[in-house]
């Protein structure tokens, strides 16, 4: 557990602290208007100038030796901001973490504020032009989505009960979508996404450029070698290239450094040989989110 949970987790994980989902935060920071303004033009937030610089083509700057490091540090500072949200056109304090199925269920059953809805994923719309209803939103976000027709799924029922939300999330997880929970903006949690890379605007900066736009999960993958049949089905499920079939051993090998702990690979395993262990138990990767 890192400082983040120590500070905001009330003794547990930050995303299992129900105060982050509460109506009081909405009132305190006036998030109703803030989020409506932000989501009315969400797609163009990515192309707006930040500090006078256009982010289009900024990826070349990230790759420069020294300047790149400074720019990435500034980007991280913006995403990790814990100041009260003021500018709806910047992703200040929009930071998330990968969550496995079990934690997502706990969020949906015990923490998420009613009403719970399902909306079209804006990342897939921005990067692929497709509408897929797989983001689960709670609390004030649900009211906002009702006002923005392009996020509303085409099917007639998108307001979900807690059990329906869990079932939908489980469905997405089994497809190989990575569960992620987001502050948006800090300290209000309103999004439980089922992401894909490279479509996800939050995962891409981390995977391609090493910007901590999302934290890895509190878990790491483990393998029970005796139970594994060596079919290799899990390898195809991993979005991060953390699993590789090793013919010499007749089993997959896990690259723990690349593992985000999403646990999606477990759905492919017919023998139950894959499991998650807390990241803290790994001697080298404890605290490396």
């Amino acid at each position: 557990m890192c400082d983040y949970c120590m500070e905001h987790g009330a003794g547990g994980k930050w995303y299992l602290n129900a105060t982050h989902y509460s109506e009081e935060i909405v009132e305190k920071y006036n998030l109703r208007e803030f989020l409506l303004e932000q989501y009315a033009s969400f797609e163009q937030m990515a192309v707006r100038k930040v500090g006078g610089f256009s982010p289009v083509g900024m990826d070349y700057t990230f790759r420069m030796p020294i300047i790149g490091r400074v720019v990435k540090m500034l980007a991280e500072r913006m995403l990790h901001s814990q100041k009260p949200p003021v500018n709806p056109f910047r992703p200040d304090g929009h930071i998330g973490q990968v969550v496995p199925l079990e934690d997502a269920e706990a969020i949906l059953m015990h923490c998420a504020a009613e009403p719970i809805i399902e909306k079209n994923c804006m990342c897939r719309y921005m990067s692929r032009g497709v509408k897929e209803a797989c983001c689960i939103n709670f609390g004030v976000m649900s009211e906002i989505i009702d006002k923005l027709p392009r996020f509303v799924p085409e099917k007639e029922k998108y307001h979900l009960t807690r059990d329906e939300a869990v079932a939908r999330f489980r469905e997405h997880n089994a497809k190989g979508y990575i569960g992620t929970i987001w502050f948006g903006p800090f300290p209000y949690i309103n999004n439980l996404c089922s992401c894909e890379t490279p479509e996800c605007a939050g995962i891409r900066p981390r995977v391609d450029f090493g910007i901590k736009s999302i934290y890895k999960a509190e878990y790491l993958l483990g393998l029970n070698e005796t139970a594994c049949h060596g079919c290799g089905a899990c390898v195809a499920m991993c979005s991060f290239g953390a699993l590789r079939m090793e013919a010499a051993l007749g089993r997959p090998v896990i690259d723990a450094d690349r593992c985000y702990g999403c646990g999606v690979c477990r759905h492919a395993c017919s023998t139950g040989a894959l499991f998650l262990v807390p990241r803290d138990r790994h001697p080298a990767l404890a605290g490396k989110y």
């Binding site: 009315a40 033009s41 797609e43 163009q44 990515a46 192309v47 707006r48 982010p55 289009v56 083509g57 990826d59 070349y60 990230f62 790759r63 420069m64 719309y125 921005m126 990067s127 692929r128 032009g129 497709v130 490279p198 479509e199 891409r204 391609d208």
Partner: protein, 98 residues
């Protein structure tokens, strides 16, 4: 650093002229590394953020482009161009007889 220059001709696609990129979206779907981004134009925010004609496609992550040119061949209006970005030629030396 190898640089790629990707340009979208907004006279042919987006910005309320030619094709609505949201209805077409071929370049978005064909690009393996998802270089393009679909968004409302900045001007749309001040005028009318919900105006459906004011959407455009921007090559947002050019450094991830593989230069496979799939987007060029798939675009029905021929609006996209992908070229290696070359340094400006150095100025020609002044000839001796000048």
């Amino acid at each position: 650093m190898r640089r790629t220059r990707i340009t979208v001709d907004y006279e042919l696609c987006g910005d309320g002229v030619g094709v609505d990129p949201r209805a077409c979206g071929r370049c978005l779907r064909t690009c393996e590394p998802a270089v393009f981004l679909l968004h409302q134009t900045i001007g749309a925010l001040e005028e009318d953020p919900f105006d459906p004609t004011r959407w455009r496609v921007t090559p947002f992550w050019p450094s991830l482009c593989d230069r496979c040119r799939q987007c060029v061949s798939v675009c029905p209006r021929g609006a996209i161009e992908v070229r290696p970005k070359v340094r400006q030629q150095p100025r020609p030396a002044v000839s001796a007889d000048a």
